[in-house]
């Protein structure tokens, strides 16, 4: 009999604030965190970003890592969010049997600061600044700092990275391979990302408008989010507060294009169908969908098409990227935390700036905070490379 997997702790850092409370407050009051660049040094002043409102110094003092020079922006916000999750779950790191981390740029921000000087003069700067450049380096330093000694994995499947870490952790626990785990992801903003996305011409110079007919593209954001997963049995035994059950998940490939989704959202449709099947749920059981909803013309249209195909009657759909921007590798975990909040708070958060919903595949949207009992919430995350994941959280 496979074990039931539950969430007992979560932590989050986004442009909405530090911690679950600050994020919740912003979501409830409809206050987004997207603004012109203040911290990222870029000449793209015209591109609004969802920046975490703290410079490197402040992030270091908030998170207090042992050797600050080795820590990138990605790793620092990861540490803050991970600590919150562990504290909420009342679990000491040496009792943790796994850490799964998703990120797409790792320590890129430090690398970008290091190289211009180094290229001029090889004696300039310290190699420690780029020591943890790679994605795995970020995960390893996080595990070391927290004192997690069990299974360690880094997943980079672009924008679905961190939902895949949660899925991996849940499966390993369900299969009895590990007892518990902390899973999620982080991505700090970098010029690498901003310039790259700009070249794909999928950034909006205005505030993004998910699912709106006038949508032009996404706003980039940064963030970190982690959840602590353990077996239902262990959580009940220790008398912990269970935040949600992980009831279904699936990952598929759209097999269409490197960066664009297939016209009818085949991969997205299959991911949602398989997640429902895995969870033994019918489409009608889903009360709420936290969509991938990036606000690119292609994503929103194909995701809406896929939702229409799976759900005869559309559950209320939201895209919280209208608050945070697209936090890339962290997005799946950030939106998992928001989905779990919808269950606990009995509230669906709105899609901001949605005035004229796309007409071709009509869906029901949440456009202002709505009090409603949410028992099952489905969250979508799709990544470049055709990687499509859906996860379902349920009321414990």
């Amino acid at each position: 009999m496979p074990k039931g997997v539950v969430v007992t702790g979560m932590g989050v850092v986004t442009c909405l604030g530090f911690g679950v409370e600050e994020n919740l407050l912003a979501l409830k009051s409809g206050r987004h965190g997207i603004a012109p660049p203040e911290l990222l040094r870029t000449f793209h002043h015209e591109m609004p970003l969802g920046e975490v409102r703290a410079d490197r110094g402040e992030l270091i003092s908030r998170s207090g890592p042992t050797h600050p020079p080795f820590w990138s922006r990605t790793a620092l916000i990861a540490l803050i969010a991970a600590r919150e999750a562990l504290q909420m779950a009342q679990i000491t790191p040496n009792h943790l049997t796994g850490l799964m981390n998703g990120t797409t740029v790792g320590g890129m921000d430090r690398t970008e600061d290091f190289y211009p000087g180094f290229m001029e003069n090889e004696r300039h700067g310290h190699m420690r600044e780029v020591f943890n450049h790679d994605c795995g380096g970020t995960s390893e330093q996080l595990a070391e700092e927290l004192g997690v000694r069990g299974f360690l994995a880094s997943i980079n499947t672009a924008c679905s990275s961190s939902v895949n870490t949660i899925m991996l952790a849940a499966r390993m626990i369900r299969a009895g391979r590990i007892k518990n785990a902390i899973a999620g992801g982080a991505d700090g903003l970098s010029r690498f990302t901003l310039n790259g996305f700009n070249s794909l011409m999928i950034l909006d110079k205005e505030l993004c408008r998910p699912f709106d007919q006038s949508r032009k593209g996404l706003n980039l954001g940064e963030g970190a989010a982690y959840v602590v997963l353990e077996t239902e049995e262990d959580a009940l035994k220790s008398g912990k507060r269970i935040l949600a059950r992980v009831s279904g998940y699936a990952n598929t490939n759209d097999a269409h294009h490197q960066t664009a989704s297939s016209p009818d959202g085949t991969g997205a449709r299959m991911a949602m169908e398989e997640a429902l099947k895995e969870g033994g749920l019918r489409p009608a059981d889903i009360d709420h969908i936290n969509a991938h909803g990036t606000a690119t013309p292609n994503n929103d249209e194909t995701e809406a098409a896929a939702i229409r195909t799976v759900f005869a009657s559309s559950p209320p759909v939201t895209s919280t990227k209208s608050f945070t921007g697209h936090t890339l590798g962290a997005a799946g975990a950030v939106e998992s935390v928001f989905s779990i909040l919808s269950i606990g708070e009995r509230m669906m958060f709105p899609t901001l700036r949605l005035e004229n919903p796309l007409s071709e595949h009509p869906l029901t949207y949440v456009t202002s905070p709505e009090n409603r009992t949410v028992n099952h919430v489905l969250s979508n995350s799709f990544g470049f490379g055709g990687n499509c994941s859906s996860i379902i959280f349920s009321r414990p």
């Binding site: 310039n195 490939n253 759209d254 097999a255």
Partner: protein
């Protein structure tokens, strides 16, 4: 419940040519660069797939490996065919190319054609597109191959409904290339094929990284 995973075929890149189930299927020829070598191997395999030339070297290498592995025998259940690729050097070839383009102090000009490849899991997308596979897919970055870990991921995928797996390791950095690929099927009954095991993964991972050079 225990389902056995059996290896249907195995592909390795050894000293600049592809081997399938222990036999060389392409030959090493002198080439200017790793990029030229990749094109040469493509031609040797008689692939008619122009999209190949748009890919970066990492995706090209992965596509070649799967081509040798699968050939004309495309998986019968594309929705239940999983892709599981391990890699150490991520998408470093395209990361560097992109970095160079945006670091140009006079005219920084990022290219979408380069940027799309700055993620290692684009390999999975390219494989999925080429063979119309829509099952589960996972790309794991790891400094070394840990057979237990690779085996575990394969088992988890099989347990979640994948009946077949394309499983391998693909790396490209500078002029160095490393690739092996296994075609694994879920099998309940008796079979003559060898069973996927940590020892088997150890054996296939044992081949050294190949560095392109002008001499063999």
């Amino acid at each position: 419940m225990s389902t056995k995973l059996h290896i249907v075929s195995a592909v390795q890149l050894r000293e600049g040519c592809w081997h399938r189930d222990g036999r060389a299927v392409t030959e090493w020829r002198q080439n200017e660069s790793l990029a030229a070598w990749l094109s040469d191997q493509y031609r040797q395999l008689n692939m008619a797939y122009p999209k190949f030339f748009k890919m970066d070297s990492l995706c090209k290498l992965a596509t070649l490996a799967v081509e040798v592995l699968v050939g004309d025998e495309t998986p019968v259940n594309p929705q239940q065919t999983g892709i599981l690729v391990f890699n150490r050097t991520s998408s470093i070839v395209s990361d560097c190319a992109h970095q160079e383009l945006i670091s140009d102090s006079v005219n920084p000009l990022p290219s979408p054609a380069v940027f799309v490849y700055t993620l290692p899991n684009i390999m999975l997308g390219e494989i999925a597109i080429r063979y119309r596979l829509s099952g589960e897919n996972l790309c794991v970055i790891s400094d070394v191959a840990r057979p237990e870990e690779i085996f575990m991921h394969a088992e988890l995928m099989a347990a979640s409904g994948m009946t077949e797996l394309i499983l391998g390791w693909v790396d490209v950095i500078d002029q160095q290339a490393r690739a092996w690929m296994l075609r694994v099927k879920k099998h309940d009954g008796e079979t003559n094929n060898s069973q996927l095991s940590t020892q088997l993964i150890k054996d296939i991972d044992n081949i050294p990284t190949w560095t392109h050079s002008l001499k063999s």
